[in-house]
Symmetry: C2
Amino acid sequence: MNQDDHLHSLGAMVACLHQHNLRYLSRELEKYGIGGGQFRFLLALYHLEGIRPDDLSRLLMVNRATTTRALQRLEDAGYVLRTPDPLDRRALKVNLTEKGHRMHQFIQQLSKQRSESMLAGFSPEEKAQLRKLMEKAISNCREECK
Amino acid sequence: MNQDDHLHSLGAMVACLHQHNLRYLSRELEKYGIGGGQFRFLLALYHLEGIRPDDLSRLLMVNRATTTRALQRLEDAGYVLRTPDPLDRRALKVNLTEKGHRMHQFIQQLSKQRSESMLAGFSPEEKAQLRKLMEKAISNCREECK
DNA sequence: ATATATTTGTTGCGTATGCAACTAATATTT
DNA sequence: AAATATTAGTTGCATACGCAACAAATATAT
């Protein structure tokens, strides 16, 4: 039995990769006043200026409470701005600040580095394949949530 | 831009899959007195009777504190037994109880179902490929920790 | 042999997350 | 129009996790 044979389960493998990743990001982002949990919000927001927290939650498939708190922390640290939506006074609109855009650049680079570490020794085809298969799996999860 | 394009980052994709999975397991395992976080310990222990918590931590790549608490909860719920190692009085030896073995069966089945949900529409080759690539990625992470 | 270092497990504190209950606002029904 | 239902965001509580500090045991160095 080799060293990885305990991770029979796909879920266990995913958990392992996730926590490894989160640990890394937390350490790297600590000095910028944000935690590793915020990185995916910051990444997503770049492409979604003005999005409402609730829509962001659905896209990232996280609970609304999680989004609320991630955005609060990002706002406290000056990376995003939440403004009331004048057309629907229940809702907010979220935008990156200038600082947020700069941080996005940094995080994207960090994320790329992280990918390259995880995918060391992968051929370009293997990288593409992994991404494709994971997207398909996520798509299944999304389907299941409906 | 399609619905999954926000998940550019491999890390974000992994996080998404992990949390989806954890949510599912937490709901399913609630009635058995354990949380979704314990499932990978229970899965691993089946193949590792008598292992020490510290070795288990290394294999699963989690912090020792996490292992301590997962095993405490599993012991409280009657699924594992921790006995002092007579050869090294700092250490413990962990074993599944009878109840633990039965739960392992159940969890393995659950884990399989979960995989099948996530991998709906995958060909057998794609399933094998995904597993292979993820094992390789985990192996890279493990290397990085050394 | 004794002092020092390392190892194993535990605990306190902080972050990330989900669920359920809540408030305020909007939408729907009657 | 008023009553009811739904929606958006927030907050309290619980779990999962990491890190750092600790205690006890063992290993190493001197």
